[in-house]
Homo-oligomer: 147 residues x 2
């Protein structure tokens, strides 16, 4: 997983700097869908003179290389997610939490969507991106209690 991502960097002639390594490790080891600031706060302790501009740069780079994906968040900001295995996102309308849901039949779904896009608009699909919105388990239970 980590190695595969480094491989991607090498294949694109991107230098493997310590900053990129710790940001990558952070993304792999945390499934909390961090914001730029969350990452910055977490890493500046062990890497005191880490610049927030570097984090912006690095995340944009990783996204371009399809190592991570960007998601829209409740507050209008952006969250990032290491994209090791295909999954989609369930985003709670109440608390804003983002949960990963595994795709049972990712390839098939992708093909179906790609076919429609091609048939209707001559659009060539490279990747797909799915979110569902609603209520997470906790919020459902909380709201049920209240009435």
């Amino acid at each position: 997983m980590y190695e595969k991502a480094l491989e991607t960097l090498r294949n694109n002639n991107v230098r493997i700097t310590p900053q990129r390594q710790i940001i990558l490790k952070y993304l792999i080891n945390h499934d909390n869908h961090p914001s730029v600031d969350t990452i910055y706060e977490a890493l500046k302790q062990e890497f005191s003179n880490l610049s927030i501009a570097t984090i912006y740069n690095t995340l944009q780079l990783f996204e371009k290389l399809d190592i991570i994906i960007a998601l829209p968040a409740e507050d209008g900001g952006i969250r990032y997610d290491f994209f090791g295995s295909p999954h989609f996102h369930a985003i709670c309308d109440n608390c804003g939490e983002i949960e990963d849901i595994d795709f049972p039949n990712y390839k098939q779904l992708k093909q179906e969507l790609a076919k429609e896009a091609m048939d209707q608009a001559g659009f060539q699909t490279n990747k797909i991106h799915i979110e569902v919105f609603g209520l997470c388990k906790n919020c459902r239970e909380e709201l049920a209690k209240k009435r």
Copy 2:
């Protein structure tokens, strides 16, 4: 379509102001996926003292009421889309254009995704949101020429 949206406003005890009406009409009559600024530039001519803050307010309101949906754009900004009939979006990695693609089997797909979200996380799905990324027809042809 227009009436149905007004109905939604009434049902939520939201006042139907001239500003909300022209913004709504604009969204229905344009499938260009406008940004806040695009809408502002277009409408301030016929409504000279229209405030950009009102547009922000109105769009946020419409989105909350599921009259429109917000999409992430190429440049990091946000575009809006009147959501009359179920469709997903094909976003070109090269030129940033957003195209609407009709869902052939929207309900079935929604059910499948909702089932996974429920089974895996106890998440109750209200709406789904799908984008595919790749190359639009024009860009494919352009890029083919160049080599």
